[in-house]
Assembly symmetry: C2
Homo-oligomer: 409 residues x 2
């Protein structure tokens, strides 16, 4: 919607101001520079991939300014780059005061409606023959006198707020109302690899996005419970993964599909019904741990939220986690209410996909244990040959590429 | 501000509609009933503690209705009861249509400004000689004709939206604009006990609140690093704990103060400087694990967020967690950006407290390891007598009560 707004007044912006997440700014200097450099690299690569002409990139404290004839076209890709907190399309000019006034007037003419109010702000870095308040005054006067429409100044609650950034020999004029929110967080790869247990449902999708936002490289694993689920379930998970890979600029381009139906059958055949989900999940954790080891991940990640399902009580989370020893299980949604999860899912565009009707797992018992005892669980697992199950499962793992079109597995 | 709004038009409401979190409604029937009963008990106890007269409590699907002459006075306490998603002060009347019309008109007279717009909605449970659309029409007409002011109906974007709930022989009229958001989540104690490592800073406070929101009983532990911190640090943690205990209705009324300075001294004396924070935290985890065992907790809880500090990289979180085996470490802020944490801190009223300047730990090294190797960490810990340190620490633990006034420890 905002992008349409920018198109509407048909002004040809020629720059894009990208602001880094505030958290990056408070890091020690070497860490800050490393993170900013990483964002710059990703931004440049993305602009190249989109085929967008870049005339120059300048880095300033807390921001990156791209000179490009197509700033609006760059926005959809760059709003998916973690570490960017906001983006403003801007008009570039020289730091000559008359040039600034003219550029501002050009934007104002395209934008201000009769009867509306505006304000002007200026920040200046470098040495110039004027000070910031003078810039605001001159630009304000020029708009009031030169626009040929009845507009007023309102510094407290303006309809339109012009911002002028003067940096050395250059100046940039933009409109605060047109500033677009970025995803925030840290750039991709500033953390290590995390192995995400993706189900295709909304929780694991949002949990994965949150981990990516904080800089993790995601590795994706899906446990295929066929015949207790079917291909609709698998297909949904693959599509969710594909959608989320838009945020990783091509890194997260595969899903490890783990055949888990035989394990689940063993559990159903040999163990108490009320423990089915816990035992199934403990097997998933175990398999994920071995996979994490092979892939060099530093932790597991799930969409579990406290109390959301019977297997997700505080008590059962402990029972689950006792199945593994080498890796922590990270649960970004631990304290989320379902509506908060849905809100993020909508923002990142996975809600519809994850809400799609698929075959629910038919192995889930009617009365699952919310407070399984570890003794009961261990006793039940004695009836299983856990090591062999894990080993056999690995023989059947299939890697599904996300960047190619497949009709089947 | 909303409460002032309610006071402003000086209407004597006599009921309060409390709605349960949507997530409770989708639980299996026995779980739902148990959670709702729990909320009802907490609400009744809170009203008694506040000295608020209750004339009756009725439970309906998804909501609880309190008949009380002081609904406004009850709001500050009940907005701190987890499991409630929203609250509406209401006017109670009989389900006789004329009574409903009169009650609605009374509210409208106190509330509607000249030139403003309104809408009327009705939901009805039970058998009545009228249907919902008729209620809306009759109430709408009465307001248009009887208020003596120029007001208009606007069903899409009304300034004021009246809601009428008819339930058997009773009816309740309230104004949607006056509906207040509750904290959501699950009622206190619907999950087990979690041991929270509280530092007094904003992260652990918000993490703790999120765990409480999802129904956990919090147990609080504070690691006192004196002489590397001082009493300002401890005092702040105690005050944060006190503030947060408002949300637990008297349950979370103590903090375990653990003397950790000697442990830190040992670490500083014997181990590499760059590992100080990781080794210090691993000791905290170990001590917390023993304490969790003694207190019957089911997990540990920290305010750690991915990448926020050197000790909180994905890599180092793994190194930390390898110090313990019996409990999972829950990190509700794992995927949070700092501004998101601050936003919740402001909402729950701990921001100012946690932002208060205290003595920062002077043992923190200038260049902490962001990617410590587990071999280095284990080698460093060989120079420590970890078991003795844990045992000795326990001898010095002090329990600070939060519901009494202390000047010292």
């Amino acid at each position: 919607m905002r992008e349409e707004g920018i198109h509407n007044h048909k002004l040809q912006y020629d720059a894009l101001i990208l602001r880094f997440s505030g958290e990056i700014g408070i890091k020690s200097r070497p860490v800050r520079l490393r993170l900013e450099k990483r964002i710059e690299e990703i931004v440049k690569r993305e602009l190249t991939r989109e085929g967008i002409k870049v005339l120059g990139v300048s880095k300033f404290l807390g921001r990156l300014i791209i000179n490009t004839p197509e700033p609006i076209a760059a926005i959809p890709r760059l709003t998916k780059v973690f570490g960017i907190s906001s983006l403003s399309p801007a008009l570039r000019t020289s730091s000559n005061l008359q040039d600034i006034v003219e550029a501002s007037l050009r934007i104002a003419k395209g934008l201000l409606r009769p009867g509306s109010t505006f304000a002007v702000k200026c920040r200046r870095v470098g040495s110039h023959p004027y000070r910031s308040p003078e810039v605001c005054r001159r630009v304000g006067e020029a708009i009031l006198n030169g626009i040929g429409r009845d507009v007023k100044v309102n510094l407290d609650e303006p309809d339109t707020s012009f911002s002028i950034e003067v940096r050395g020999a250059d100046a940039y004029v933009y409109v605060e109302n047109e500033t677009i929110k970025g995803p925030g967080g840290f750039p991709k790869g500033s953390q290590g690899k995390v192995l995400c247990l993706l189900s295709g449902g909304v929780d694991s999708a949002v949990a994965l996005w949150l981990a990516m936002k904080r800089g993790c490289y995601p590795l994706l694993v899906y446990f295929d419970n066929e015949p207790y689920t079917d291909d609709t379930t698998t297909q949904r998970a693959v599509e969710v993964a594909k959608k989320l890979s838009e945020w990783t600029q091509g890194f997260c381009n595969r899903v490890y599909l783990v055949p888990h139906g035989n394990n689940l059958k063993e559990i159903l055949d040999r163990c108490p019904r009320r423990l089915t989900c816990i035992l199934c999940k403990r097997m998933m954790y175990r398999i994920a741990e071995v996979l994490a080891d092979r892939l060099g991940a530093e932790g597991l990640l799930t969409g579990e939220a406290l109390g959301e399902q019977a297997s997700q009580t505080l008590h059962n989370l402990r029972i689950l986690e006792q199945a593994i020893v080498k890796y922590p299980v990270h649960r970004p949604l631990l304290g989320f209410d379902k509506d908060e999860t849905h809100k993020i899912a909508r923002l990142i565009g996975v809600y519809e996909l994850t809400a799609r009707k698929v075959k629910e797992c038919t192995a889930a018992p009617e009365k699952p244990a919310t407070k399984a005892s570890i003794e009961d669980v261990l006793e039940a697992e004695e009836r299983l040959d856990v090591d062999t199950m894990v080993r056999k499962t690995f023989e059947g793992i299939v890697v599904r590429r996300l960047d190619r079109d497949f009709s089947g597995t």
